[in-house]
Amino acid sequence: MDSVIEFASALCLLTGSFFCLSGGIGIIRFPDFYTRMHAVGVTDTLGAGMILVGLMLLRPESLVLIKLIMILLMTLFISPTASHALAKAALRSGCAPLLYRKDKE
């Protein structure tokens, strides 16, 4: 039973790391400020989420579990607020988004 939980935890940690890595690559690859912010969203939600769930599986009986759940909830409340503030500030100070044009096809 223990090895099953450890395997599940490892799987969650691995998926979480993959999402964080993809988010990081997205930040480098995407062309402008606003599209890069979408890549950050991946790291913030599933990346952090899967890593925290993976850690939760390792210590399901202790108070650590509740602290990890608190961290997860805090991240999910704080990160959209920060993203929104950044995006609004960028648009107000005249950072024009690159937009998709149909004639490019």
Binding site: G23, G26, Y34, G41, T45, I66, T81, S83, A87, L91
Partner: protein, 159 residues
């Protein structure tokens, strides 16, 4: 009054779960800090239905489950486009109309949009939300109004 009680209980639980030291000294320090925070928030005049949405508590879990599913699907789509490269994305800026009537409902809707990867609510004025999306399809999905309808239901259930 019920918002003050709810805030005290939340802060008390937060302190207890984070400290895990049940000695009289630590517990009394906890009581003092909770009382101080309650005093501060009253002075700032922020204890009301917006900071303590107790009326939403019963309906939220169902919405969270649905939002969680949407976030997972959106994550997979954004990660796919990270690896596929810049030729496959179609950044779009659009203005959506929120059908919610209260500020609370609109904020829940805008925050849900931002929390879902691939879409960010850039500005919110009145019932107009300016949304930046990584893909044209993301905007189309929002315009179809599934999320808008669910937040409206959540809001209606507590009026």
């Amino acid at each position: 009054m019920k918002h003050t009680i709810s805030l005290s209980l939340t802060l008390g639980a937060f302190w207890l779960l984070n400290s895990d030291h049940n000695t009289p000294l630590i517990l009394s320090l906890g009581v003092v800090s909770v009382a101080f925070v309650i005093y501060l928030t009253h002075r700032m005049d922020v204890v009301d239905h917006e900071s303590q949405p107790v009326h939403l508590t019963a309906k939220l879990p169902g919405y969270y489950v649905w939002l969680g599913k949407e976030i997972i699907l959106a994550n997979i789509s954004v990660v796919k486009h990270v690896w596929l490269g810049n030729q496959t994305i179609s950044p779009t800026l659009a203005t959506l109309v929120a059908s919610q009537e209260t500020d609370m409902g609109r904020v829940i809707y805008a925050t849900s949009i931002t929390l879902t990867p691939g879409t960010v609510a850039v500005d919110l004025a009145g019932d107009q939300i300016i949304v930046h999306a990584l893909l044209r399809e993301n905007i189309e999905a929002l315009e179809a109004g599934e999320m808008d309808r669910r937040v409206k239901l959540l809001e209606d259930s507590c009026l």
